[in-house]
């Protein structure tokens, strides 16, 4: 599938380039823009990013595959991230993770067939003092228990 940056995003890229002395340095913010527009980083997105920034394709590929927040496949509309690292684990992170897995019928990294949900077991999100937590796309939900976490899932449509 072909990918093109929107006019608005092309203007944003111009602004981003002003922040850095090299074009390569803009690759991370530009990949974020692409992901916002396209939903995930496909091969076409990487190629387009490389041509817009006039940098090597393999460098874009290297960056997109190194960082976990660039999705290399299409994720659900609601990307559910459950932290199970120590601070969350001590306060019931795994109970929440297991309950979410059961409710969505998904394993780590899977996407539901209707593309509504995807699930990821994430590493520490910096919510240790308000543990346990889940994040839905960009939003944090903290101080949870199993019931509250399931209620949040119910409220998503």
């Amino acid at each position: 599938m072909e990918f093109k940056f929107s006019e608005e995003n092309l203007q944003k890229i111009e602004q981003i380039l002003k922040k850095y002395p090299t074009k390569q340095a803009a690759v991370m913010p530009v990949l974020y823009l692409a992901q916002e527009q396209h939903g995930w980083i496909s091969k076409e997105v990487m190629l387009k990013t490389a041509s817009v920034l006039e940098i090597n394709e393999e460098d874009v590929y290297g960056v997109a595959t190194f960082y976990t927040m660039y999705h290399k496949k299409e994720m659900g509309k609601h990307h559910i991230q459950v932290c199970t690292n120590v601070s969350c684990m001590l306060r019931g992170g795994y109970q929440i993770y297991d309950a979410v897995k059961e409710k969505l019928g998904l394993e780590n990294g899977e996407v539901s067939s209707d593309k509504k949900f995807s699930l990821e077991e994430v590493e520490c999100m910096g919510s240790c003092g308000t543990a346990p937590m889940i994040a839905v796309n960009e939003d944090y939900f903290e101080n949870l228990d199993k019931e509250k976490a399931l209620q949040i899932l119910d409220s998503l449509n």
Partner: protein, 440 residues
């Protein structure tokens, strides 16, 4: 107790409120001094880095070369990904202007025209808050070209926010620089150190968000005032993030040298259900854990923690009660480092996966005593044999958890390796066709 980094003032994150309380006056006073004077003040204040290594901030600044035509850079490290650490996000939310003001002063002191504040990608909300504060500071003329007019100086600098994308390793300073350059976050071999060869090969200083936020009050009130707070060898306040089995988890700004037991029982309101403490990790998950019976009298500063066999790290205190399964905790920690190892150095790339495999085996109840010894051997072979400190960070919890809680591991492992084969294979003599005895 006076709060330096997180003052308890309502709406302090708003530029108007910040200005009402003397905001950006420290920057003004800084521009009336020479850069050497500022570096000297920070040196004398005794301020030590809050990102984990606790290195003297003033000394670090003084490594930046002078009389050098190359552009210089400042990186402010807000990658904050160490499990148990959640302090920088409080600064981004409640006191972004002091961070910005500190960044301006640091830029001036080291001669940097550009500063990058690197914030971890998951902090979408906090990045937006910081960007809002930064836009306000630009508008009021505290940053950028307009600051020449505002502060009546010939110096100006720009501050940019760079968003990470979910890699723990980018909290390591050289990896952070590669990430800003738009590369994979691989740590670099040191030397050369960033002050000689940093961002795009130019002189660069990297400071933690909390370190930089301490700068404006030091400039405003003087080094004598700052160096008198807390422990003389590690002065100032520290943001302690308490998590785990406590009644009141959260971030507490307290003088360095505050008793660990005070932080847990007084500020975090003690352990849930008044249980006993089995284990405390005092500085984020990579720091050596302490036993519950080791905590009495332990002061929270770099030197005191070193003396009891741990380290201050990022001040993330993880409390585990008497019912905690430490084998599972260690397996979870090992999983984290396995996930986050960048894969550049063999001991870390292979060792973290190997340790996780063994720990998972022990958790399943299939481990042996030899496995526990093997874990220690692997950890010792990772430690010190990698380009960056992630190797040590992965090795220390394993090494020290087993050293200090050996009985927890021995209780769940078998004594000997079972030699009983899982798939019974007959010996050649039994399976082969009967051999006719050789006739003599």
């Amino acid at each position: 107790m006076e709060k330096i980094v997180l003052p308890e003032i309502e709406n302090f994150h708003q530029i108007e409120v910040y200005l009402q309380h003397g905001g950006y006056e420290a920057a003004k006073s800084a521009f009336s001094q020479t850069t050497d004077q500022i570096i000297d003040t920070v040196k004398k204040s005794g301020l030590r880095g809050r990102g984990g290594a606790a290195f003297s901030a003033g000394l670090k600044w003084s490594f930046m070369p002078k009389n050098n035509d190359k552009p210089k850079y400042l990186c402010v490290n807000g990658d904050e990904s160490e499990p148990g650490s959640f302090k920088d996000r409080q600064i981004l939310e409640y006191n972004p202007h002091q961070l910005i003001e500190g960044t301006i002063i640091a830029c001036y002191a080291i001669g940097a025209k550009s500063a990058y504040i690197y914030v971890r990608g998951e902090y979408h909300k906090w990045i937006k808050l910081l960007e809002k504060a930064l836009a306000d500071a630009y508008e009021k003329g505290f940053v950028g070209e307009k600051m020449k007019e505002t502060f009546a100086t010939d110096f100006s600098c720009n501050i940019y926010v760079h968003k990470g994308a979910g890699a723990y390793i980018c909290g390591e300073e050289s990896s952070l620089m590669n990430s800003i350059e738009g590369k994979r976050g691989y740590p670099r071999v040191k030397p050369p150190f960033p002050a000689q060869n940093g961002l795009w090969g130019n002189p660069t200083t990297i400071n933690n968000v909390e370190t930089i936020t301490n700068i404006p009050p030091i400039i405003k009130k003087g080094w004598e005032w700052f160096s008198a707070i807390g422990e003389p060898k590690h002065p100032g306040t520290i943001l302690f993030g308490v998590s785990g089995h406590v009644n009141n988890p959260g971030v507490f700004e307290l003088p360095s040298g505050t008793l660990l037991t005070d932080i847990i029982y007084k500020y975090a309101s003690g352990v849930i259900d008044d249980k006993k403490i089995k284990c405390v990790i005092p500085g984020g998950s990579s720091m050596p854990p302490l036993r519950g019976d080791q905590l009495e009298g332990v002061k929270m500063d770099a030197e005191s923690l070193k003396a009891v066999g741990s380290a201050i790290g990022t001040g993330g205190i993880m409390v585990m009660d008497e019912d905690t399964d430490l084998v599972r905790v260690l397996a979870r920690i090992a999983k984290f480092y396995y996930h986050e190892s960048c894969g550049q150095c063999t001991p870390c790339r292979e060792g973290t996966g190997w340790m996780l495999k063994i720990l998972n085996r022990i958790v399943r109840g299939e481990g042996t005593k030899k496995d526990v010894d093997l874990l220690v051997t692997i950890a010792k072979n990772i430690e010190g044999n990698t380009v960056c400190a992630l190797g040590d960070a992965a090795a220390w919890p394993v090494k020290f958890m087993i050293e200090r809680f050996r009985e927890e591991f021995d209780a769940v492992v078998k004594d000997e390796v079972s030699l009983e084969p899982k798939n019974k294979v007959h010996s050649m003599r039994e399976t082969a066709n009967p051999i006719t005895p050789v006739q003599v």
